[in-house]
């Protein structure tokens, strides 16, 4: 396998479920920011699951933007460094879903976890059906984009 070289910002989540898609919305906002460091791909990962494994494994740098349930008030920015990101979700009755943590877990198992890995999340408020962000999350989005930009600058 060639040395991983891609530098990617990956927005995750389902845009059909309001705040669930905040990672994708934050990615769009990030794309409009002036002065972004060059050399980074902004990718909308949606809910592609296992199909994202190939991209993850090709990354030297991977910044993930996603909705995160950390039990905080809605709109709270959550940040996890590489070693803090749980690589695999729990199981129920032996079954599991191919969550993005599992994608990361598979990459780790295969020895291809990106060397630089960072997660920015926002606590969602409303994940019912719809295409709108809640006011709380909307208000936190610029903060997430700012923080994402500084992570990228730090990586440059």
């Amino acid at each position: 396998m060639p040395q991983p070289t891609r530098r990617v910002v990956l927005g995750l989540g389902n845009i059909l479920n309001n705040d669930e898609g905040l990672g994708v919305r934050a990615l769009e906002l990030l794309g409009t920011q002036p002065g972004l460091p060059i050399g980074f791909e902004l990718l909308d990962g949606g809910v592609l699951g296992l199909n994202l494994l190939m991209i993850v494994e090709e990354c030297s740098h991977l910044l993930i933007l996603d909705a995160v349930d950390a039990g905080k008030p809605p709109g709270t920015l959550v940040e996890l460094r590489k070693e803090e990101i749980p690589l695999y979700t729990g199981v129920k009755l032996s079954q599991h879903q191919v969550t993005f943590q599992e994608v990361l877990g598979l990459a780790a198992m295969r020895g291809h976890l990106p060397e630089n890995l960072h997660l920015l999340g926002i606590q969602p408020m409303d994940v019912s059906i719809g295409l709108e962000l809640s006011n709380e999350v909307q208000a936190a989005l610029p903060q997430m984009a700012d923080r994402a930009k500084s992570v990228l600058q730090h990586w440059t």
Partner: protein, 579 residues
């Protein structure tokens, strides 16, 4: 009241399927209930939107079903507006669809279904020399040396030692219903790992034709990528060569790994040739059109209804038949304007939520009342099974030579009668058989595409009816798609240039539907009755049969908890874990 076992969720991908099964005194299932516990509702998002953009929303319904919901959507619009696509575009679509089958089925087999049959931990006991001998005897596949299998064992050992067994998180390891010799367990685990690398080659076709990474791009009227052999940004010689290599890689993996593995594993589970049938009724909408999107005369998979196992009398269903194609909600958490016992054709479909179930968390569903977010689609008031078995039977019954050959070969190799196809084993074998048929068809479509290009037929888009002023004031259409999991239909109603109604009847709704107005069970429910559980507290047998249908609940139920607030396992995101 007898004890009822509850499995929730049962899918490994975005599971929101709940199965409840009651047992008799001998631990044999006498009743089973299937429930989608998350509400569907994408239909409400689409109303009022531009029909040309519907695919961009439907493709987000599920990360696994991105392509199929896009195709069904653009075909529905093309049907409504009577848009024919160029032959070249049709060939490119056929290539994308065939690729999707091969990719999806291989990943289903190794990543989702194999773990029901293969004991990962037991693979550590295998003798690498003996494993290599078996590998060499069943296939010319190149990874076949004792040292290779020793390496795989080291990887598995490392995972077990690191406490990350959760990657293979199945609490049922050591279950007495696992019957494989250690060596075959090791063989399958090795291929589980290899499939992850293989999918890189397998997805190249989509990366090229989809244009946009990682979500592919689609367009009503054709395909978005132009053909220009001299351009860097179009389909050119270099890209055609990548596609050709990718096709070779797919065919080789199916021929040398998937099919031989199936035939190596199946002999240890032949009893499943008599378990898990269910309905005996099958439906397909058909796939791989000939000259253009509406040429159903050359369908590789015919559009077919099979009733009561009768392969001698297949009928062609008309998806536009208001009387025969209907969805019921008698046991589903919806209400219709005309009451709970009527059926509605999808063009007249209604999506009004009516949750009457217990407040979650609950112990048991109220199965005498409404108990699922899935509707009950029915053909001529009958429950139908959709999916690989339905397609293989349709091809078999209509005399498709390669399918007949493959079915007969599998039956002969396993030494089982034709009736064994109506089972959990038959469903799993049918998936592999059609994978072989569709993988080979990739080469055919590729050659046809190259011939069209050589003849100068490079049009990939028909823009005659792109502008809304060219459309009729009112139109309705049906978009078919044989998704890997089974028959998918999108029904669209367009009024004044906007979507007035949009209904998706997805494969898992057919297979996982609750009882209908006549009390008839859906395919999952019927398939479980009569199955004996060796250890009811570890209901592995239920998983085997349900997984043989390849359920994909995210498609069927769309991501919102019944209570409207819990994130639950609502998405493939980090939110799930950090509770």
């Amino acid at each position: 009241m007898p004890e009822r076992i509850v499995i929730d969720p049962i899918t490994r991908i975005e599971g929101h399927l709940r199965i409840e099964a009651s047992l008799d005194e001998n631990n044999v299932i006498n009743q089973a209930y299937s429930s989608g516990t998350m509400v569907r509702g994408i239909e409400t998002i689409l109303k009022g939107r531009d029909p040309r953009e519907a695919w961009a929303f439907t493709q987000r319904a599920c990360g696994v079903c991105t392509t199929v919901h896009s195709f069904a959507s653009i075909r529905a619009v093309e049907d409504a507006l009577k848009i024919r696509i160029p032959k070249t575009a049709n060939l490119i679509r056929n290539l994308m669809i065939a690729q999707q089958y091969v990719h999806d089925h291989v990943m289903h087999f190794y990543h989702l279904h194999a773990l029901d049959w293969v004991d990962v931990v037991a693979s550590l006991q295998a003798d690498p020399d003996a494993t290599a001998s078996i590998q060499q005897s069943i296939s010319p596949w190149h990874n076949a040396s004792p040292s290779y299998f020793t390496g795989v064992q080291k990887k598995v050992q490392a995972i077990v030692d690191s406490g990350q067994l959760s990657i293979f998180a199945n609490a049922y390891w050591g279950h007495p219903a696992y019957k494989l010799p250690s060596e075959i367990n090791l063989l399958a685990v090795a291929h589980y790992l290899e499939a992850l690398d293989w999918q890189k080659d397998a997805t190249k076709i989509h990366t090229i034709f989809g244009g946009k990474n990682p979500h592919p791009n689609f367009v009503v009227g054709g395909v978005p990528m132009p053909i220009d052999l001299n351009s860097d940004t179009a389909l050119n010689v270099e890209r055609l060569s990548i596609i050709s290599d990718s096709i070779d890689s797919m065919i080789t993996f199916v021929d040398q790994v998937y099919i031989p593995d199936l035939l190596a594993i199946a002999p240890y589970y032949l009893e499943y040739g008599g378990i898990g049938e269910g309905l005996g009724n099958f439906l397909t909408w058909g796939e791989f059109p000939g000259e253009d999107n509406w040429d159903t005369s050359k369908f590789l998979v015919p559009r077919a209804v099979i009733l009561d196992r009768d392969l001698a009398n297949i009928q062609e269903p008309d998806p536009n038949d208001f009387k025969l194609m209907q969805e019921y909600i008698t046991h589903s958490w919806y209400k219709y304007g005309d009451g709970d016992r009527v059926g509605l054709h999808p063009w007249n479909g209604e999506t009004t939520f009516n949750y009457t179930g217990p407040k979650p968390p609950y112990e048991l569903l109220e199965v005498e009342q409404k108990y699922s977010w899935l509707k009950s689609p029915r053909w001529a008031e009958k429950s139908m099974e959709v999916g690989p078995l339905a397609r293989v039977l349709a091809m078999y019954a209509s005399g498709h030579a390669q399918t007949k050959e493959l079915v007969d070969l599998v039956l002969k190799t396993l030494d089982v009668p034709i009736t064994a196809v109506f089972s959990t084993l038959g469903r799993t074998a049918a998936r592999a058989i059609e994978t072989k048929v569709f993988a080979d068809s990739l080469r055919t479509y590729y050659n046809e595409l190259v011939a069209e290009i050589s003849a100068g037929n490079t049009d990939t888009f028909n823009g005659e009816k792109w502008e809304p002023h060219t459309w009729p004031a009112n139109a309705q259409g049906f978009g078919y798609m044989e998704a890997p999991r089974g028959a998918l239909g999108h029904w669209i109603v367009i009024q004044g240039g906007k979507i007035d109604n949009y209904q998706m009847v997805v494969p898992t709704t057919w297979n996982g539907s609750p009882r209908d107005h006549l009390g008839q069970p859906g395919a999952y429910e019927a398939s479980l009755v009569g199955t004996k559980l060796e250890k009811p507290e570890w209901p592995l047998e239920i998983l085997r049969t349900i997984h043989s249908f390849d359920p994909c609940m995210a498609c069927a139920v769309h991501m919102v908890d019944a209570s409207g607030k819990s994130l639950g396992e609502a998405a493939i995101g980090l939110n799930v874990l950090l509770h």
